[in-house]
Assembly symmetry: C2
């Protein structure tokens, strides 16, 4: 019995790597693979209190309902920390950042249209646009300097008018860079000059580990940037809650697209989250989270330095959950990954997973997550990785 | 600043009716419009207990996670009540039935393909398929007998091979019929004979008000029916939780589509729901719900009979949340609705909202929801509606 599915699904399949990561979730493995936040850092007790308050004292958290205004006001306050001034009518609630990207893709992309992004970028974006089979223009990017804005301008100067540009300016996934203020300004200006909207994916924007936070790209050009935010990394992914900041016209269209996709975002977790955000505890929670992640980042970098300092290189990320580690070009990290499954049992993402096309730089790099494991596991995992790479070099 | 959006969005806009329903949500209105479950019947206290248990005693309800196996096992048990035997690997969790339909549409529809449905049907299905601009074939339908299966067969005999047929066999929204066992068998056979899959939308399947429950269409033909279920009407829509039962190959493809759409279904509400379902209280809750809705249905029908028995007609629904009321053909219910906003302040959906093309039968009918309001409000609302129709007839 062969059932006919849409043509694009023929080319789509679960990646073998995804399967492998599932197979390697046992306790004998140390995972630097997935971008998981720390389970110990979830404010479970406070959310339980908040859930009780919402379910027992408020009206209708279980009913169909419009997006919770109270939560939008909290997001409005959060956005001011990112340098963005907006009204609650410009905030659209989603079931996480991935849904934000997916709804924007649905709104912006006609089948076969063009999009502009970096040659190494977040795979979830590529998945979200896949049904529209876009032509993907890429510009060079770099784990230190980030997206090459000059090249982006050159592409636009040739007359290309992509449906959107996609960027992750803070704590880039996977490259871990944080884009400078100057480059953000230039990117924003490009969007306005060439009338090409930017999707600014900012799940890590509130996880800055240094004193100076760089404002969101949207702060420089409100009209041409659609900002995508998320509670997954600063509160808990299990809530599946995120938001888009965009113009009123876009928000209205998004509400139609979302109604068709899943009616609305769950009122229950919206209200639980709004309740918690209103308390001072959230500020404390976020400070604690930054401190803990900074410390885990430092720990991973210390061990990388001690054990692989002579042949691997990386940049200390000032935001996000990842360190992008480059090995000599002779090292094929996909092969490294396969070996690791059988021997050292430490998991990570080989860089080429994130390359839109094959990339030599990515092929000899890995993405390591530093937020999920505690200090002991980080040390043990880097030790295993070092042994693995050492064997591989010989 | 004109931003370019995908072409299909130009034709999409919020319906004026949707706007009007929002404007008329004040306490002076009685709403028979939206398909809301009863707020008083939500098991808020039990869900609060369940939320506390999950957040304080279980691991990882807040983390990214695969679909909760425990919840799938509970759904497996529920499905056996609908006559469907399935394994948990054939169950796919969604953020409500609308997401189920939307993901299936994405999987089944290439742009411009054909679908087959009734001439009067659930508008959320039409919204879900809209981005793919399908050619929509309709067959006649009827508030008493339901979808005309013979006509469906005739369409298939002409050589048409739609990408799917869409049906709501129990407590049809909006027509309120429940399809006979014989017609279900014939529909299922059609799907297999002509290799055209059926999307069986069954949000009301567990809300049968008479003793005899009719098995799901899927029970007659597991291979060619994709079953879409939901907790929105039997537990709470605010949880945004539903499921699809389909073959393993389809489930695998769905997981790829869903990952691109919103990563995964929230582990938190999945676990809260699984916890509650495991308790005997859920069976009690469902019995209570059926009893209460049966009583509200009877109340609405009593008042309809007393006040409009001489010029309106309806069938007593054996499932679902709606009564489809037909007036003489001279009555234009869209006009009735506009008048009601200004005068009697009772809201309902004019039948033509649900007509794929204009329909005389639908134009003189209304869909009334009987689950949301208590007995007093039902009486008052039907009294207002009766005054309105009476004025309108003169």
């Amino acid at each position: 019995m062969a059932q006919r599915l849409a043509a694009w699904t023929q080319r789509t399949k679960r990646s073998a790597l995804q399967d492998m990561l599932e197979l390697t979730s046992g306790p004998e493995y140390i995972s630097f693979g997935l971008g998981l936040p720390s389970t110990e850092c979830f404010p479970a007790e406070q959310l339980a209190i908040s859930a009780g308050e919402v379910l027992l004292r408020q009206s209708d958290p279980l009913q169909y309902g419009p997006p919770t205004e109270r939560l939008k006001r909290q997001i409005q306050l959060l956005m001011s920390e990112r340098g963005v001034t907006c009204s609650t009518s410009q905030i659209f609630l989603t079931a996480g950042a991935q849904q934000g990207i997916s709804l924007l893709a649905r709104l912006l992309l006609d089948p076969g249209k063009t999009i502009l992004t970096e040659e190494v970028t977040y795979t979830g974006f590529l998945q979200a646009v896949e049904p529209y089979q876009p032509r993907i223009l890429t510009v060079p990017t770099d784990p230190v300097m980030g997206i090459d804005v000059e090249q982006a301008e050159k592409v636009l100067q040739t007359g290309e008018r992509p449906a959107c540009m996609y960027v992750i300016p803070s704590g880039h996934n996977p490259l871990s860079y944080t884009l400078s203020r100057e480059k953000r300004q230039r990117l924003a200006q490009l969007a306005a000059d060439y009338e090409v909207p930017i999707i600014e994916d900012d799940p890590y924007g509130f996880l800055a580990y240094e004193d100076s936070e760089i404002p969101a790209v949207k702060s420089f050009q409100p009209d041409w940037v659609y900002y995508v935010g998320s509670f997954s990394k600063i509160l808990a992914p299990g809530l599946r809650l995120g938001w888009i900041v965009a113009g009123g016209e876009i928000v209205e269209k998004l509400s139609i697209v979302k109604e068709a996709a899943d009616i609305n975002t769950r009122t229950l977790t919206q209200q639980i989250t709004a309740n918690f955000l209103q308390k001072d505890e959230f500020t404390e929670h976020l400070q604690h989270l930054r401190q803990e992640y900074r410390s885990r980042r430092n720990s991973m970098i210390d061990h990388l330095y001690t054990q692989m300092g002579d042949y691997a290189s990386w940049t200390t990320p000032s935001s996000g959950l990842f360190i992008w580690v480059r090995f000599p070009e002779s090292v094929d990290t996909m092969e490294l990954f396969r070996e690791s499954i059988a021997t050292e049992k430490v998991t990570f993402f080989p860089g080429n997973i994130f390359a839109v096309n094959e990339s030599q730089m990515a092929a000899s790099s890995v993405r390591l997550n530093f937020s999920f494991n505690n200090h002991d596991k980080i040390e043990e995992g880097i030790t295993r990785l070092s042994r693995l790479v050492n064997r591989h070099r010989k």
